[in-house]
Symmetry: C2
Subunit: 319 residues, 2 copies
DNA sequence: TCGCTTCAGTGATACGGTTCAGTGAACCGC
DNA sequence: GCGGTTCACTGAACCGTATCACTGAAGCGA
């Protein structure tokens, strides 16, 4: 390419990035580029500049349909900013999460967006030090930029709604977590249940529809709760499956409350009443934060996402 | 790293890839590596070797839930083979597909897996020449490796089932395609409809649930078809949404047949009767083919995927 | 006209590996 | 004991771009 124009490689490099060149040289380079169908090699560029244009996206579990939507949205948003997303799936496993985070760093990504499985894991601060990180959903001890959910509000919305409609015995279906019992969302559930005088039982579910269904079957034993509060819509889908297998009607025999608002939730029968986290807003915020941080901007911004309640038909009025 | 061991960089390079070294040197390198927490720089490696370890995944439209599942599965499968997936979304747009394919090549991916939006586009042969390509679903004029669906069988399964249950007036909901009216799947529909003596109307839907719903509303006018055959489960979900809005019951007023078998299809009410393409088999085959091709193996293998019919409750027996 | 600044472009070096030709030593059979 | 292989390793070139220090020329006011 340098010899094609008769210029020095340096001049070409400058021209291609519109930097410190005369109009004529610019034109000469442009012409040669189109002629040769030339495209700068991103690999060499990355080696020399230290920036790959890649953003790592480390998902908690892509079994979760809502997280799939999130990944698709983020990937698209990053592409619009001329970056590529490198999507990895921790499958709900903290050890795997740790390994993948390391691999992403080894891949020299310019930044990362993560949905921590274990936000208390000790490797996070160190990681945030070496590469810009944006955490979604859970806070990373203040060492990263964050798009956090106001889980306190979300839980309150859900539980108050259930209580208002007369539910007192409630099962909470939550993804199996790392052993961090003080995880904020869970703390809020306990606190709110106490405040509202609810009789609560927590059931954990591994990832995937099958696991959620199995967990739901445990929760829905005879004489069990009148309502199930699921910490993701995907888990709620498992409750629908379990109810069908057990011959229980929703919301006749048991009410279901979700958390996310995935597009499919409106299509079930009955529609799933759920907490809407405005996925578009989250996607935009995450993309904006990580782009800014990767470009050398602020690395610790914080965006708080507010939920709304989306009433459909899966919660029965017992009053 | 070279100086840490006192060896030449070449020896280290060989050792790290377990090539042509004595046991002792091997050990020395290994020790130094753990000591320094050394990790080879994939960028430099890519520049020197010409192989990035990345496989491009170019999806037709990630609005489609089944394609999301496919992307997740492939991404996971590739990671197990020590490769990374670079996932891009053509959003059903042939022009965009062309641009993204080019971008993937510019990124120096070692191979690509594509679900062509426009399999007849003229750039494919040229692309397949310069990088190993595996096509999923549609054939790329024999220039690439392929995991093709036996759409003839799939269409036959679906339409024969509808006919056996007494349906004669059928609407076909198919994604808007590039202007390739001779697309194999569509050809089969026409041929089979003729063979079975069905009265058929084709309605196209843009991508996404909203667009599918809108298209379904057009198809479900009064006095319309007794059954709708959707060319993806995602589109069928749009029919469920439209039916709900129009106050029509499934399968009472209209029967629905899908094509894919996405996990959610079993959760709807009624469950969606659909053509099951065995997504796991497709994922495994695609990963295997692209890995082999990227490693310099065969570039034109062909795997044909056979469908089965998954009867649930969305097709009414009119006989 | 002189000295100073600004600008376009050059040459060299760096990035961190891979790869190829080549070298000395050990090993082989005859 | 000798030519020929094989083995383990080295030195050097190379991948394609970015960047820094520098040069020659042009533009400027005094």
């Amino acid at each position: 390419m340098a010899k094609a124009t008769g210029l020095s490689p340096a001049a070409v490099s400058y021209a291609l990035r519109g930097l410190q060149v005369s109009e004529e040289t610019m034109e000469r380079v442009r012409a040669a580029a189109t002629e040769l169908g030339y495209e700068a090699d991103p690999i060499a560029r990355a080696l020399a500049s230290g920036r790959t244009g890649m953003i790592g996206l480390l998902c908690g579990s892509l079994e979760d349909l809502w997280q799939q939507s999130l990944a698709v949205g983020i990937s698209r948003g990053l592409r619009e900013k001329d970056r590529y997303a490198l999507i990895l799936d921790a499958v709900g496993d903290p050890a795997r999460e740790r390994a993948l985070a390391q691999q992403l760093r080894d891949q020299r990504v310019d930044g990362m967006i993560v949905q921590p499985v274990d936000p208390a894991a000790p490797f996070w601060p160190e990681l945030c030090e070496s590469v810009p990180v944006v955490a979604i959903g859970d806070s990373l001890a203040g060492t990263a930029a964050e798009v956090v959910f106001d889980n306190r509000s979300g839980v309150t919305l859900a539980l108050e709604h259930l209580r208002e409609l007369g539910h007192r015995r409630i099962a909470v279906l939550t993804p199996t977590r790392a052993s961090t019992p003080d995880r904020p969302a869970d703390v809020h559930v306990t606190a709110e249940a106490e405040r509202l005088g609810l009789d609560m039982e927590v059931v954990t579910a591994a990832h995937g529809l099958a696991a959620a269904t199995e967990a739901a079957q445990r929760a829905l034993r005879p004489g069990g709760p009148t309502a199930v509060f699921c910490f993701s819509d995907s888990i709620a889908y498992g409750v629908y499956a379990a109810a069908r297998e057990l011959g229980l009607s929703i919301p006749g025999d048991v009410s279901v409350m979700g958390y996310d608002d995935h597009p499919m939730s409106g299509l079930l029968t009955p529609g799933l009443t759920t907490v809407d986290w405005n996925i578009d807003g989250i996607v935009k915020a995450a993309v904006r934060l990580v782009s800014a941080a990767a470009d050398g901007g602020a690395r610790r911004r914080r965006v708080v996402q507010k939920p709304t309640l989306k009433e459909r038909g899966s919660v029965r009025d017992l009053t």
